[in-house]
Amino acid sequence: MPPFLAVDRLTKRYVMGDTVVTAVDSLSLSFEQGEMTAIVGRSGSGKSTLLNLLGGLDRPTSGEIVANGQRMAELHDDELALYRRRTIGFIFQFFNLVPTLTARANVELPLVFADVPPADRRRRAEELLGLVGLTPRADHRPSELSGGEQQRVATARALANGAPVLLADEPTGNLDTKTAGEIMSLLTTLNRERQLTVILVTHDRSLAETRCQRVIEMSDGKVLTDRRPGGAP
């Protein structure tokens, strides 16, 4: 089976003041469908930049990303938006829920951009809130939810469009250990039961080692190690 998501000699440089920073340095990697991968590394090692490139939020300076057979460099801005909508679900460290919207409306948001009729998206949002165990909180706004609950809503939102890839940037970075474990369990379950490809960036090496099938360690924009702790699944 060909790799679902692959990068080839991927480089991303950006200018910070007077210096040019190479965040991702000629990186070649591939991700299998249904695999749960953790990317670890120190701050500034380029892991978040890699995630943004994979998610179509950012464009590389050079190199190539191929997603599901499609070369991303060939995509226009609108097509890139479609890629983010159909292929990628994002989860952020700070949840990034829209503060004025209820949990349900937050989950519906990607469906709004996808032109899904109101009745359908409401049904889908409630189904997903049920999946993450937040049905009773559907009408609450983010400020009325705990951190863990907010991240669950964000996860439900990332799943709304049925994207096959979940990209999570420090999803547990803002949560206590217990809640972090719960969120990781949720992601593991989704990976296992829905065959979702999960790529998460984390500082927490132990969480990565115990929960993920593959751990990639990055440093200075390059891959330092690339291991499968539990052996190939």
Binding site: G55, D77, A81, L82, F92, N96, L109, V112, F113, D115
Partner: protein
């Protein structure tokens, strides 16, 4: 994105910062209200002036003059007649007979074009007045225009004075002047009063007489004699007996006006009708209304900067959210539309509220003006036409969208990575 969703999001975003939205709206509301009020004043004044001309009589009357046969030759000017007819020559009884023979013509009344000073008893009435002779047929028509008194009887030296002359010049009630004598004179006051003296038998309603609302009527024959006696009146003595500067032709129905006018032009007459005057008034007031609109528009333009500021703040505050929208699959144009609709909502709400305020203010100001300045109730001061109403709201909408354009474009072009990192 569906239109309903874009609208809901854009509109809904206004509610996030209610205070700021309200302040921005106040600017738009005041601007639109001022615009509506000013233009409404222009329209109101125009309607009021048009009322003078659009009387039943004027709608079937053609003012006819004889165009000078050599009209157009350089260096020769005829009688100055409102400056729009070109040179004319006096009309004769022969011309009057010719006009009477035209099939669509109901009646023909020569105009004495006589302007003289008037004295009511010993009281001078100030500015000169127009005097015209009325035949028995004319008198019958004037009968229905009377507000007081009666037409003169046969052989009586009676005079019908216009109500406006009393209101403006001496604040007399119509009933006060019936039976009093009125004397007309030119620049030569030291003449015997006899043939210039008339007894006021009635007062006619100026409103209903339109363009002739300031004219005193005397019996035709005595009017002709008066013109002789005063050497043609204050406008000069060019008119010999049996000649007229202007003749009024009354046609049988308003639909025949343009046909008869064409016929008359072919017979080398110069004509003007109330339509010409209305055309001139329309043109003039187009300029007036345009000027009013420009001044009024200043307020709305100032509000534009308020909207632009609000929208720029709105984009800045929601930078992170824009990043999220993009990460969730919103296209640039989706983001742009949400912000444009947000700006447009300010314009539409402010436009309608401003229109409402403007209409309310025009009613209030109209009432105050009428009360304070003793203006009759049927005088239009402010008139909000449907076109003005629609135009004001549309203008507010266009201005607000223009104000939202730059912030919306900025929002749509934000780099999602930077936007998501924005604190």
């Amino acid at each position: 994105m569906r239109i309903s969703d874009v609208t809901r999001m854009g509109f809904g975003n206004l509610g996030r910062r209610k205070g700021r939205t309200v302040l921005t709206l106040v600017g738009v509301v005041i601007g639109v209200a001022a615009l509506v009020l000013l233009v409404a004043l222009g329209i109101g004044l125009k309607l009021e002036i048009l009322k003078i001309f659009q009387t039943e009589d004027e709608l079937v009357t053609i003012h006819v003059m004889r165009a000078r046969p050599d009209a157009g030759k350089k260096g020769r000017t005829g009688f100055p007649t409102m400056g729009m007819l070109g040179p004319t020559v006096p009309m004769t009884e022969k011309d009057v007979e010719e006009l009477k023979r035209l099939p669509a013509v109901e009646s023909v009344s020569p105009n004495l074009s006589l302007v003289l000073f008037a004295k009511l008893g010993d009281v001078s009435l100030g500015p000169p007045v127009a005097i015209d002779g009325a035949t028995d047929g004319d008198v019958e028509k004037l009968r229905s225009r009377l507000v007081e008194g009666r037409p003169w009887s046969a052989g009586e030296r009676g005079c019908l004075v216009p109500s406006r002359m009393l209101e403006v010049r001496s604040e007399l009630r119509p009933a006060d002047v019936i039976g009093r004598s009125i004397v007309f004179m030119g620049n030569d006051d030291d003449v015997e009063a006899g043939p210039r003296t008339y007894t006021i038998t009635g007062v006619v309603n100026s409103e209903k007489l339109g363009m002739r609302g300031g004219t005193c009527f005397v019996p035709w024959e005595s009017g002709v004699a008066l013109r002789e006696l005063t050497g043609g009146g204050l406008l000069g003595g060019a008119m010999k007996k049996g000649t007229y500067q202007e003749v009024r032709v009354r046609v049988k129905s308003p639909e025949l006006m343009s046909d008869v006018t064409k016929q008359l032009k072919n017979l080398n007459y110069a004509t003007f009708t109330v339509a010409d005057i209305i055309g001139m008034i329309d043109t003039f007031f187009l300029v007036v209304e345009g000027f009013m609109a420009c001044i009024g528009a200043i307020g709305v333009i100032v509000a534009l900067f308020g909207i632009a500021n609000t929208m720029a703040m709105s984009v800045l505050e929601r930078t992170r959210e824009i990043g999220v929208m993009k990460a969730l699959g919103a296209r640039n144009r989706d983001v742009r539309r949400v912000f444009l609709i947000e700006a447009a909502s300010i314009g539409v709400i402010g436009g309608f509220a401003g229109l409402g305020l403007g209409m309310l203010a025009s009613v209030l100001l109209g009432w105050i003006a009428r009360t304070a300045m003793d203006i009759p109730a049927d005088v239009t001061l402010f008139h909000v036409s449907p076109l003005l109403a629609a135009g004001a709201v549309l203008f507010a909408l266009i201005v607000s969208v223009a104000a939202g354009m730059v912030p919306a474009l900025r929002a749509s072009r934000l780099d999602p990575v930077k936007a998501l990192r924005y604190e």
